[in-house]
Symmetry: C3
Subunit: 276 residues, 3 copies
């Protein structure tokens, strides 16, 4: 019996997603909006990209979860991000930070550091982004171009000072969080090498994380469930579409097709490890 979220918890979170169809407010980059909305719809959630300063806070009170993605920030959108994050924290709505390139570009790095004060339920990034974000506090680590999520585990752990759970996604996703007094690492395999060949897949995983955080019993479970749903769908899609254009459509089909039986057959969750 595991001390961390495992297959049964993922299956339960998936059932909750389908039953509740959470409304996810996404303040995201211009490249990702359409694909992200379709990922949410196919997976079983509802998207709303309300990202202006006039409405962002109000809508964070209406939405079930909020995603903030720093891919192509503008001054106005950044203002909306601050307002949405503050409103989400105040209303007790889970919000997820996707800190694209925050470690390498000082202006958005400052934005990311400020947003962390509003205590995201989860942070999701690739290994470099997690390392870069963690380095913003102390300036120590900086940007690492490594693509190996394992290298980001110490940084992810540091970020638990700000967020309830953190993932570095990649060929094997590394998710870190707390279960009681334990700090645990959950690794999720599967997926597809085609995912990074389609733009906005990582961004869309961030949005799906916000959807699951809205329905799961805790952010760590939500983060694990989102990554498993994503990885299983990617594996299904790759089996029928071996190149990026057709893979993108097949992936949306597969997010829709994933059900309990598929999860139980294909989920690749490694036994959780307690971090010392």
């Amino acid at each position: 019996m595991s001390f961390a979220p495992a297959l049964d918890a993922v299956v339960a979170a998936h059932a909750a997603l389908r039953a509740r169809r959470p409304l996810v407010q996404a303040l995201t980059n211009t490249v990702s909006t359409n694909f992200m909305a379709n990922v949410l719809l196919s997976a079983g959630a509802s998207p709303a990209m309300v990202d202006n300063p006039e409405e962002a806070a109000l809508f964070a009170g209406i939405a079930d979860g909020v995603l903030i993605n720093l891919g192509t920030p503008t001054a106005a959108q950044v203002e909306a991000m601050r307002l949405a994050a503050a409103a989400a924290e105040k209303a007790g709505k889970p919000w997820v930070l996707d800190p694209i390139a925050a470690g390498g570009l000082p202006w958005r790095g400052g934005v990311a550091a400020e947003l962390l004060q509003f205590r995201p339920a989860a942070v999701r990034g690739n290994a470099s982004e997690i390392i870069g974000l963690a380095g913003l506090g102390g300036g120590a680590r900086g940007v690492d171009s490594s693509a190996d999520p394992a290298a980001a585990v110490p940084a992810a752990r540091d970020l638990l000072a700000h967020a309830a759970a953190v993932s570095a996604s990649g060929p094997v996703d590394h998710v870190v969080g707390r279960v009681g007094s334990r700090t645990v690492l959950v690794r999720i395999g599967g997926g597809s090498a085609l995912l990074p060949r389609v733009t906005a897949t990582g961004c869309s995983l961030g949005a799906l994380t916000a959807a699951y955080a809205a329905v799961a019993p805790d952010p760590l479970t939500g983060l694990v469930a989102a990554h498993v749903h994503f990885a299983v769908a990617a594996e299904l899609a790759e089996a029928v579409a071996p190149r990026p254009g057709s893979f993108a459509a097949a992936f949306l089909d597969a997010l829709d097709a994933v059900d309990e039986a598929v999860l139980r057959e294909r989920a690749k969750i490694e036994p959780a490890v307690e971090l010392a």
Copy 2:
């Protein structure tokens, strides 16, 4: 013989669309831009997303029709919307309002109310949006979460004070307008349950409405023709693609494939009803 637009009028409008390839200026949300442009191109129109305050009015004089969609408004885009709507009205170009969430979010509600003063040729929304928009005037109805377009007919009728024709789209589209001194309701069946599973399909229907309004003899005919073309294409697409990712591509293919024979075979226009 019908007193409202029926199959022959739809076929004629479709032929006019293909012959003239109207240029549609779309001021729309960030989620919809790419898919909407592809819907217009596949259906037989030309898109141009000119939505900055510096050029919006000038371009409304060049375009054949204008779509204004309130999905993700920014302060600058709203200024462009006012300028484009005013210029379209002045130049006698038909413009269409898609009042996404205007009934539920006060800031954009104010924008929508102001835009109605420029007398859109048509308003298109889902049932909740039509009810919400109608409620902005008197504050009476507010937002109704009902998805049944039939419930929006009274609101659509109220909006005829501002627009020549109004549709509440859904499983059965309900289109309301005037024919001479009569107020009529035209219902259009068909379509696909997959349409709401793909983001920006409703928004793109709004844009197609602007394209048809530019070539049809009157806004009501344009609105009916756009909904029929859309519903028939969705039906064709669903037959070959039963999940959302592949459906989106198949739907674009089908918008292109629809011709007079397909319209005559598959259009589901119920006999028009005169509203008391």
Copy 3:
């Protein structure tokens, strides 16, 4: 033996693209962002749509090439364009201008004229756009609605005063540049009539041009290689997907599938012509 880039040069540029995966910064219109990023990824480059004034100049120093596309400019994005173009010129990074509608809309026409001062490596547009852009200087030509790229050759040649190479793309792409003291015209056939039926294909060709300019020995070779890769992929895609929705996905697949053997079999580069 040719005095201008021909098949061997294209094959070498393609190999360099795949080996180096250049990072392309794109400041582009809202319709194109997602598809353009996918075109770059499928072809073998890396996209980053950093287009705010706060980060555009810094990122131009990081990127291998920069695309500036005037499709849906905002005041803030235009400021970012100026900063990115200036930074690219200063850092010796190739940048490409795609002057959408610059000849027909005075505000963006002024922006385009100003940007030309930063000496783009290449300009890419359709025939009307190249004619329109060239006309901005002297006001003589204005906008020509002709779609025949051959008509744009004199304008393209005029633009060599500002850019190292210029293309007017269309059914037969016309690329103009200098080889030593010669001014040459290279024509590229192939492609597909479906390309203009899918939005943002031309814009994405502009981005691919920036990717090739970053790895080719000179801008003219980069421009020719980008157009050949694009045309060959379009031809492959049309063979399996005869309508626009499925063509778009097949085209991304084909950009990925193009390799040296496919280029050698299908490239349609006409013998270069020296312009008097």
